[in-house]
Structure formats: C-alpha cells, structure tokens
C-alpha cells in the first residue's frame, strides 16, 4: 500500500461522511425555510424518504427480481421450475439440502443444551462474570476467524510427522491414526457444525442465564422445602419458567444456522460434501454463473426461514402481553 493509496482511501471516507452530513444539513435548512403551507409534508418526506427509497430500490425490488430469476436459466430465458427440479434431483444439490437439514437440527439443540447447562452450573458461582466472558467471546469474532481457529485444530500431518492439530494429536495419544478431518465425509460436516456450536453456545448461555435469574427465588425455595432434588427443581420449576426465552434462543439460532455461509466457505469452500444452501447459492450465482439456480436456492432459503421467523415473532408478542 503506497501513501497515495492510503490518501485515496482517507479522501473517500472523509468525502463521503462530509457529503452525507452536508446533504442532510442543507435539506434540513431548506425545509425550515419552506413556505408554511405544506411544510409538514416536506418534513415528513425528509425524514422518511431516504430510508423508504433505499429499501424499495435495494431490497424490495431486488427480492422480486430474484423471484423471477429463479425461473430463468443462465442466459435469462424462462425455464419454469427447472431450477427447482435441478435442486431436488441432482445428487450434489441433494447433499447440500441434506447437510442444511443436519445443520439446522444439530446446531440449535446442542448449542442451547450446552449453553443452558453451563448457565445453570455457573449461576451464582464465584467468578460468574469471567466464566461467561470465556464462553461468550466467540460471538465477538468473525466466522472467518473462527474458521481459521478450528482449521488449526483439525490440521493433519501425514505419517510420522508430529501433529500440529490438537484433534489429531489427541487421537495419536490414544493410539489412533491421524485423519484428514476436513476431507473425510461425512464427519467433516459435523466438524464444521462444531464451529457453529462453539460460536452460538455463548448466545444461548447469556439469554438463558438472564432468564434463570428471572425465575422467582420463592418458587425454587418452596420446591426445596418440598424435598425435591436439584434435577426435579430444574425440570419442574426452572424449565417452565424460562420456556419463552428457550424458544427465542432456539429459533434465533436456527435462523442463523440456515444462513450459515462464512464457516463453510473458509473451511472447505463446500467441497468434500460439506456444502449448505447459503454457500451453494453463492457458488452457483457468483462463481459458476448460474444465476437462475442461485436465485432458486435463495428462494428456498427464504421459504425455510419464513415459518421460524413468524413463530419467533408470535412468541415474542405473547411474552410482551404477559408482561
């Protein structure tokens, strides 16, 4: 990077920020000077239109275009449902769909279970704050960074070379043969899933922990007086008390998992039977030039996310009414 390059970048950022504030300031000034009649309309337009225009041009219109694209081939001709037929008949595409199902079943269940258990175990313990920070930390870093961290854990050295990947070293310590983890199907899909669980557990833990603290102590103490053991107290008092939060956690993680892209992209790029819908969508549309197929995959992704989001919103609304 030369000094000129750096200067060019700084100019871009400063100019963009300056232009943005200038436009807003100027329009605001002009609107205050507008004739009294209709001033309210001008003000409303100033506040609302930037967002509305951006959303209409950048999100709503493209979404409709994509829906049309899904029924065309790479040269833009109308092909009907061919792209969808491709998706549900080609073995490679079926693997992608199957993997997505595995992801969306395994990740929410395991992250929520581990997160909830951890939250229970560290509840009211000494150093709870630090325990939380350790498990929550992966949420802060990028999926790409997480991908590199775990690729290092899964690293493979052939033959008698010393292993530098922790997983293979543990295998060797127990007398096993090192494995090329990321190239070995179907275990590689589950090893990628581990990365997602590693990231999402922190999220589940923080929400569950807050919910556990919201369960009234009187209820727990009453159950204690009744001579219940900790497990009974957990299943009969705590669990019903945090049901709403659990639903939110599971649905939220499911949505994030359906859209997972970066992890697969960085770790295997979807090779060795590890692809998922979001990754295949990128590969088809922007690498293979098959925009129709990419669009069709995006539509399927949308249809899968839709019911989960609606359910999530309904639960959230019910909770708000109770409060």
């Amino acid at each position: 990077m030369t000094t000129a390059d750096l200067l060019g970048k700084i100019i871009q950022v400063v100019a963009a920020l300056a232009a943005f504030s200038l436009v807003i300031g100027l329009v605001l000034f002009l609107i205050d000077k507008a004739p009294k009649r209709g001033r309210d309309y001008w003000q409303l337009a100033f506040f609302l239109l930037p967002a509305l225009i951006l959303l209409a041009v950048g999100l709503i219109y493209p979404a409709f275009r994509t829906s049309l694209l899904a029924f065309s081939n790479s040269s833009g001709e109308w092909v009907g449902a061919e792209n969808f037929i491709w998706m549900f008949t080609q073995p490679a595409a079926l693997v992608t769909l199957g993997n997505t199902v595995i992801w969306v079943v395994v990740v929410p269940i395991l992250s929520t279970t581990i997160g909830l258990a951890y939250a229970m175990f560290i509840d009211k313990s000494r150093g709870e704050k630090y325990f939380k920070a350790l498990v929550f930390m992966p949420m802060a870093i990028s999926f790409v960074g997480a991908g590199i961290i775990w690729r290092f854990v899964y690293d493979y050295k052939s033959g008698d070379n010393a292993q530098i990947g922790l997983l293979n070293q543990i295998l060797v310590w127990f007398g096993g043969e090192p494995v090329q983890w990321l190239q070995t199907s179907p275990i590689n899909t589950f090893l990628l899933i581990v990365v997602m669980i590693w990231i999402q557990t922190g999220f589940a833990m923080v929400i569950c922990s807050a919910a556990i603290k919201g369960v009234p102590t009187e209820q727990i103490e009453a159950a204690q007086l009744d001579g219940t053991n900790p497990w009974q107290r957990f299943t009969n008092v705590t669990l019903p008390g945090i049901r709403g939060s659990l639903v939110v956690v599971i649905t939220t993680i499911s949505i994030a998992t359906l859209k997972v892209f970066d992890i697969v992209r960085t770790m295997t790029a979807g090779n060795f039977n590890t692809s998922v819908i979001a990754n295949e969508m990128y590969t088809q549309a922007f690498r293979a030039g098959e925009q129709g197929r990419g669009a069709a995959l995006a539509i399927v992704l949308f249809l899968l996310v839709l019911p989960i989001v609606i359910y999530n919103v309904r639960v959230l609304r019910q909770q708000r009414e109770i409060r």
Binding site: A63, I141, F152, I164, L166, K259
Partner: protein, 327 residues
C-alpha cells in the same frame, strides 16, 4: 404439605423419631447438593477450557517461529520454546508479493465499517422519528412492512443489487477516478450502500422502539414553542436516544467488520476495497498450510472485535441480543 406436620413441637418419643428422620433427610440432601455442585463445577470448568483452548492455541502459535509451528504442536511450547514477532511484522508490513500485506486490508475494514455504521444509524433514526412522532396516513402499515422486511435474507437481494450497481454506479465511479486518480475506480461506495440497505429494517425497528418511548410531553412542548421537526430531532430526540444508538452502532460495526458475504460480492476483491475477512478467506484457500501467516493474520482481524467486546461488554451484549436475527 403433610411433611410440615413433623416440624411442630410434639412432646414424646415421636419427636426424637421425627428429628432423626429430618436429620437423615438433611444430611442426604446436603451430600447430594455438594455432589451436584462439585460435578457442576467440574463440568463448567471443562466447558470453559474447551471453549477457550482453540483460540488460545492459535494465539500462542502466532508468536512461534515458522519452523516450529509447522513441525511441533503449540502444546509442546515448553519443550520447544521460541518467541518471535516476525509473523506479525510479515503479515502487516512486508511488501513482498507473496505476503498477505494486511495493512491495506485493515485500513479497508475500518474505511468500510465506519461509514457503513454511521449512514444507516442516521437514516434509520430519522425514519424511526417519523414513524414515532409525525402523524401521517399509512404510518402503521408502512411500519409493519419495514418490520416484515427483516425476514428477507440478504441472499435474496444480492444478484439484482450487483447488476444495478454495475449498471448505474460504475459510470459515476469511473468519472470520479478520472477526476481524482488517487481514488480507485472500484471504490467503497457499493459496499457502503449495500451494508446501509441491509441494516435499515432492523435499525428502524429497534430505534423506533426506543424513540417512541420518549415522553410525549417533551416533544409536544418543543413543538408548541415553535420548534420544527428537524430541531426536535437533533436537539431533543438524538441526545435522549444515545444508549439505543450506541448499542445499535456497536452491533452494526461488528457485523460489518466480521462480514464476508457482502464484501465478497460488492468489493471486487482488490487491495483497494476488500476488507480483512475477505483477505483471510482468500489466504486459507490459497495458503492453507502457511500457519505462521494464518495465525498472525487471524489475530490481526480479531483484535478489533475483542477490544470492543472486553471494553464495551454491556453495550455489546445489549446490541447483540437486539440484533441477533439480522442477516
């Protein structure tokens, strides 16, 4: 609650029996409690270690000389000691063609993330204010529509948006490049716009929740005194909404900093625009065994989110919880 009966002081032999029974129950309960709490502590410790170990290993390795990283595990650091900053120096400052040259990409990540946080923040705050405090027809319907847009995964917009950018934005960028050669033809503009658009539905929704809670008397009093909506917005609403703005800003900044998909599609992948994440993904693809570079490079990209995480944890958690469904 029949058990409570034994707590009543009843004279005679019955009492001692009850006492011993209670004692037995108490003892077993105490033992059980200690046992579960001990296993709980152990399990919690195991989870904490498991969750930290991968990052820790990478961190240690990033300070080890290249020869040692590729031949010995990081857990043998005491048998094979070695410490160097050369990895960081190489990935950040080396100008040789084969090295990652992360300096330029670090600047790009910042140059993308700062405007891509401020633009949607301002635009969304304005829209949220309009929905909360300016009465107009279809206000409710429009707001529900924007709320519903959160459902649309950004994958659904990518292909047409890219086509539009090449068609309409490119000529303008070329013109700017001719005017000021220092600014590359492929600038940050498409990435900023894309991030701004994708942030808006969630941002408007969150900020509306907060801004509509501001007491109506405050705003009406100002309006009666003759303040325009612009004055009310900048002088009263924005200062009061700072906590919400901060939470969303942190969430959006980290989201953009950590994003790979939007960058891959709209940045063009050159040193002029591409952020760190894109460069890292590229390095893992082409130089997946150069661990002395990958480990240091990964930590260069992690340092900003980690600093934000540890210094602003409260805001960070709040923003993250609010925005966890984005994407």
């Amino acid at each position: 609650m029949s058990d409570n009966v034994v707590d009543l002081p009843i004279p005679g032999a019955k009492t001692s029996k009850a006492d011993t029974a209670a004692e037995v129950v108490g003892k077993s309960a105490r033992v059980k409690r200690r046992l579960t709490s001990r296993t709980a502590t152990v399990v919690a410790l195991v989870i904490a270690v498991l969750w930290t170990l991968p990052t820790f290993g990478l961190f240690i390795s990033s300070f080890r000389p290249a020869g040692l990283i590729s031949t010995t595990g990081w857990w043998t650091i005491f048998q094979n000691p070695g410490f160097t900053l050369a990895n960081y120096q190489e990935v950040l400052f080396s100008t040789s063609q084969s090295s990652p040259q992360l300096g330029a990409y670090f600047v790009n990540s910042l140059a993308i993330a700062i405007p891509a946080t401020l633009f949607p923040l301002v635009i969304a705050a304005m829209a949220a204010y309009a929905f909360a405090w300016i009465k107009f027809k279809w206000s409710g319907g429009l707001f529900v529509l924007i709320f519903a847009l959160q459902i649309v995964p950004l994958q659904l917009a990518l292909i047409p948006l890219l086509q539009m950018f090449t068609q309409f934005l490119r000529p303008g960028q070329a013109w700017v490049h001719d005017l000021i050669p220092m600014i590359p033809e492929q600038g940050y503009l498409p990435v900023w716009i894309a991030h701004t658009i994708f942030a808006l539905p969630l941002a408007i929704f969150l900020l509306h929740n907060f801004i509509s809670e501001i007491p109506g008397e405050v705003i009406e009093a100002a309006r009666v005194d003759g303040a325009s909506h612009g004055q009310v917005f900048f002088r009263i609403v924005l200062p009061l909404a700072v906590p919400a703005l901060a939470s969303f800003a942190i969430f959006q900044f980290l989201w953009v900093w950590n994003d790979l998909l939007v960058a891959l599609i709209f940045s063009g992948g050159t040193q002029d625009v591409a952020p760190l994440t894109q460069r890292l993904a590229e390095l893992t693809g082409t130089r997946g065994q150069d661990w002395q570079r990958l480990t240091a490079a990964a930590f260069v990209s992690l340092i900003v989110p980690l600093v934000v995480f540890f210094s602003l944890q409260r805001y960070f958690v709040r923003g993250l919880l609010a925005g966890s469904t984005k994407g």
